[in-house]
Symmetry: C3
Amino acid sequence: MLRELFTPSVQHSLDIIGIFVFAISGALLAVRKNFDVFGIAVLAEVTALGGGLFRDLVIGAVPPAAFTDLGYFLTPLVATVLVFFLHPEVERIQGAVNVFDAAGLGLFCVTGATKAYDFGLGLTASAAMGLATAVGGGVLRDVLANEVPSLLRWDRDLYAVPAMVGAAMVVVCIRFDALNAATSTFAAATAFLLRLAAMRFHWRAPRAWNRRSSAVEEA
Amino acid sequence: MLRELFTPSVQHSLDIIGIFVFAISGALLAVRKNFDVFGIAVLAEVTALGGGLFRDLVIGAVPPAAFTDLGYFLTPLVATVLVFFLHPEVERIQGAVNVFDAAGLGLFCVTGATKAYDFGLGLTASAAMGLATAVGGGVLRDVLANEVPSLLRWDRDLYAVPAMVGAAMVVVCIRFDALNAATSTFAAATAFLLRLAAMRFHWRAPRAWNRRSSAVEEA
Amino acid sequence: MLRELFTPSVQHSLDIIGIFVFAISGALLAVRKNFDVFGIAVLAEVTALGGGLFRDLVIGAVPPAAFTDLGYFLTPLVATVLVFFLHPEVERIQGAVNVFDAAGLGLFCVTGATKAYDFGLGLTASAAMGLATAVGGGVLRDVLANEVPSLLRWDRDLYAVPAMVGAAMVVVCIRFDALNAATSTFAAATAFLLRLAAMRFHWRAPRAWNRRSSAVEEA
């Protein structure tokens, strides 16, 4: 049973928004890779639902929410139709899409960590599952598109760290029995704002020590 | 318990045939990618069993059929031996292989959707699982071979749509309580014939609207 | 319940060693691919825990050991720190790393097969799961790094065969009710030594018959 931090309808609406913006990011990559309309739909579904699907398989919540809630399944198809017809317009508002993607990141790291804890995982494992829920869909998206996951690349703005921070805040709150609607909103907002700041100021993570001097650059 | 549409031995024979032809397609790609004999065997196994394995993990049917039925596991190894020694001959009958692959597609979308429904998924989710069962192995094959999944590419003949139609017919039959050996055979045959027609007439799905005008072609 | 071949603390120490050396191999590839520090950590975790995670999902052991034992999760992070600061030194002792990797391979094929059998899989399926446990992490590592899995390539020294032999020895011992600390150590040692010999003498598996004459070399 998922801990009820918000009323179910609020929680559900937030989930749908997160799924929608992740699906947009998958559909846009599919258009850039020149996939056909079914490829766009598949990449939208995988990006939006992949992280939660992985989490549900790991914690034993089968069948996963992605296959029991019709809204979760249909939302990426709406994103597909939108991107299919309007992708130049959607590309043009890439900035806005990135903001929504950051919101999805913040939301999913919190709900992922919470659900994992409710299914009996320890605190550290729950934080790890929160991170995996938030970034897993994007990794699957890049693997299917045959690209190096942007999560792993040094030349991309920080993506994992904001989700880590949000998920860690959740488990700290759980540890001190202080997880409620206010604190979890605060954790999601922190992850969201950190990601916005990372994009704004191009925060990047360091590569291996001595990397520049000791190896040929391969990008 | 899998709904008994056919006698178990007929059902099992059909499964083995589907697994065999999918394994041939995996083994042929492995030869083209210059893999060694173990790489050929791994790609044959993954292509043949990957879709069903994914379905079984999602619906909670563990251990998956791929690991409980020895015939399912050994059939891809037979395909491996065949392709290893005779691959020029197998390449030459690529047309025949494609026909069998279409048969596997038709069969797996029907059995996948049926099994998912028997494990408690809803109608839409069962149709989605039928599609995933039919195409999942091929996607895993292409990911392991480090290629863009041919399922997603616009320059390949329709593959997902026939499986979608077959799986959709199954859940419509379930909805109206009309699923039996005759109707499920009809659904599988429809998917099979649609795929044959797609190959014969090179049916393709559209890429994103305005794609040609607004973006550089990247293949 | 995992069959107790060794005292739990010995078993746990062996697992941690195997996880550590696999994590080193993942972290080194991440450095070579120019990933940032979080990419290094992700690839270390995936390489070290991926094979066991796959096994646990398939046999229904959820939540998987990777998420219930904190030591399993933290060990790859230690490897990450080490490689991050000292990767030129670690590269220089690549030979030693390969020896440890061979030890991990021998260990994981044995524990993987044993655990699969304890969860009710048949003998052949248990051997297959032993192989998957030993090599699965490396395959996931290469997929995430967007490379053709080295397991599948003909131009790499034998990797799968030693694990297959070790896993097969385990299930033969199980079949004749002779699995104990001595025989399982012998199986792990055999796999370990076979892998060392494969590296020393560059044993390779054949590619498809007629491959050289009938097709263009593509590497």
